[in-house]
């Protein structure tokens, strides 16, 4: 899991944000598009260098899968629930729900971000029931 190429120039402000307890995304001042994951241009209009913004960290579960056969790096952790979360600001991200039974999570549930150390020791956004 550990990757010494990270963070990279696109992601450094994102991971710095996570370390500061902030879920950061980007926003295009030209066309108002919300951009996640962070990129160096607007995925809609192509304008370079979109603004950085901070999410309130509140969202709704868009999809969920409880993993029973974990990849090698995650052996021993299953079962766990991986989510796609639609944040209220209008972007979607993958994460995992923690502090609840994995089977108790449903699509449409409200969740909020919390930060914990991820598999490589870096503070990483996870979600918990709102």
């Amino acid at each position: 899991m550990s990757d010494d190429t990270l963070p990279d120039p696109d992601s450094e402000p994102y991971w710095d944000g996570a370390a500061a307890g902030e879920l950061r995304y980007r926003h295009c001042a030209s066309c108002e598009t919300v951009i996640f994951y962070p990129r160096s241009l607007c995925t809609h209009c192509g304008a370079p260098n979109p603004d950085w913004a901070v999410s309130k960290g509140q969202g709704t579960v868009y999809a969920v899968s409880v993993v029973h056969r974990a990849p090698p790096a995650f052996k021993g952790q299953s079962p766990y629930a991986v989510l796609l979360v639609d944040l209220d600001e209008g972007f979607r991200m993958m994460s995992r729900i923690i502090d609840v039974e994995p089977d108790s999570v449903s699509i449409g549930d409200r969740v909020r971000v919390i930060f914990q150390d991820g598999p490589d020791g870096r503070p990483t956004p996870y979600f918990t029931p709102a």
């Binding site: 899968s65 974990a70 990849p71 796609l84 993958m94 699509i107």
Partner: protein
């Protein structure tokens, strides 16, 4: 500009399939090439176009050309996952139409089962993947499971309906001597096969085999000189949507919605004109979503469409008649086998599993995690 009848498929073949330890990715592709050229009635020296895909080498497009002793004047190494070969078919048609080549070969081989340590995909966690990698979603099955969860919640689709597709596909495999898994399968077998990533169970997932294939694509002028009846490309469309599942705009609509519409329009045919359909079945849910996106049924109706044996040998909708990636073979990138089976059906070469009076077929390849799709319509008239 249209690709309708810009090229014909003149020869198809598999290599040995299943578990083939006494092989390499190169020998399997050579095996398939020799057999497909013999099927077409052409020589290796006729080949001037080469279209390959794979993650098995440093530069697969160069390594295989060198090994085979082919110096193509048209080369395409488009790599968009398991659908690459349906993209290749459209690209070969365009190249032939433009006069860039006359005899193009689409090739694939994998020894992922027997030599996995050497030739498997390297999972990368950098660039865009760094935002998914910390969460431990197994790839690609976990991404397809996400899409299934969404479809279940949105439309009430059930695991039983997905299981029925696996059962029908196995019934076709039982009629195919080359299929890897041919023993009977029940809905309960699928439901009790153990969860991998909910809601997908083990038998919702494709096989993990070795294997290779080759498809010989020729200009209309050459097609008319060969012994076997040509299988014409009548329509093709392709579309790329995303690389990772968190970037897929709507998990219930695949890029087949765009590519399929283009293929139908180009061919000038409709769904009810088709005699058989081959749809990439990396997972049961892949087929359901692709059928809906191609417009065979309305959004949300896919569960009912594939259940109760409708797609099996006794059903009204012949689908994946070789036994599919679920039961026939799946050597990493399965798309080339969709072409091979459709051509054989249209030629009437399928013996026990032959669809009667088949003259028009649709094939639809999906790659990545519902990321790419190319759909082709083939016909013998």
């Amino acid at each position: 500009m249209s690709l309708k009848r810009a090229c014909a498929i003149a020869g198809v073949a598999e290599s040995r399939l299943g578990v083939v330890p006494d092989s390499t990715v190169l020998t399997l592709q050579a095996e398939a090439l020799v057999a497909a050229l013999a099927d077409a009635g052409l020589e290796k020296s006729d080949v001037d176009g080469l279209l390959v895909s794979g993650a098995w080498g440093r530069l697969p497009g160069l390594q295989i050309a060198e090994y085979l002793g082919i110096q193509p004047s048209y080369a395409d190494s488009t790599m968009v996952g398991g659908a690459s070969f349906e993209f290749h078919l459209g690209h070969a048609a365009a190249a032939i139409q433009a006069g860039l080549c006359k005899v193009a070969v689409i090739l694939y081989g994998s020894t992922q089962r027997s030599r996995a340590d050497k030739y498997i995909f390297q999972i990368r966690n950098d660039l865009g993947y760094q935002y998914e990698a910390p969460y431990g979603l197994p790839t690609p099955v976990g991404s397809y499971a996400m899409a299934a969860s969404r479809h279940f919640a949105q439309y009430g689709t059930t695991s039983e309906q997905l299981a029925d597709l696996a059962v029908s596909t196995r019934e076709w495999a039982a009629l195919n001597p080359k299929a890897y898994r041919r023993e009977p399968l029940t809905r309960e077998d699928v439901l009790n096969s153990g969860p991998i990533a909910t809601p997908l169970n083990k038998l919702d997932c494709c096989l993990f085999t070795d294997g290779g294939g080759a498809v010989v694509v020729v200009s209309p002028e050459i097609a008319k000189t060969l012994d076997k009846a040509p299988v014409w490309l009548l329509g093709q469309g392709e579309s790329v949507s995303h690389a990772q599942i968190s970037e897929m705009p709507d998990l219930t609509v695949t890029p087949a919605a765009k590519s399929g519409a283009r293929a139908f329009e180009m061919a000038g045919v409709t769904h009810t004109d088709l005699d058989l359909v081959q749809i990439y079945d990396s997972f049961t849910i892949t087929v359901l979503l692709t059928l809906e996106s191609l417009g065979f049924c309305s959004p949300g109706a896919g569960g009912e469409f594939i259940s109760n044996g409708r797609t099996g040998p006794s059903g009204e909708f012949p689908l994946n008649t070789n036994g599919g990636g679920l039961s026939y073979c799946h050597p990493g990138q399965y798309g080339i086998f969709l072409i091979i089976e459709a051509v054989r059906q249209l030629r009437g070469e399928c013996d026990a599993r032959q669809v009667a009076d088949a003259t028009l077929a649709l094939i639809s390849g999906t790659g990545g995690v519902l990321s790419s799709n190319s759909t082709c319509i083939l016909g013998v008239e």
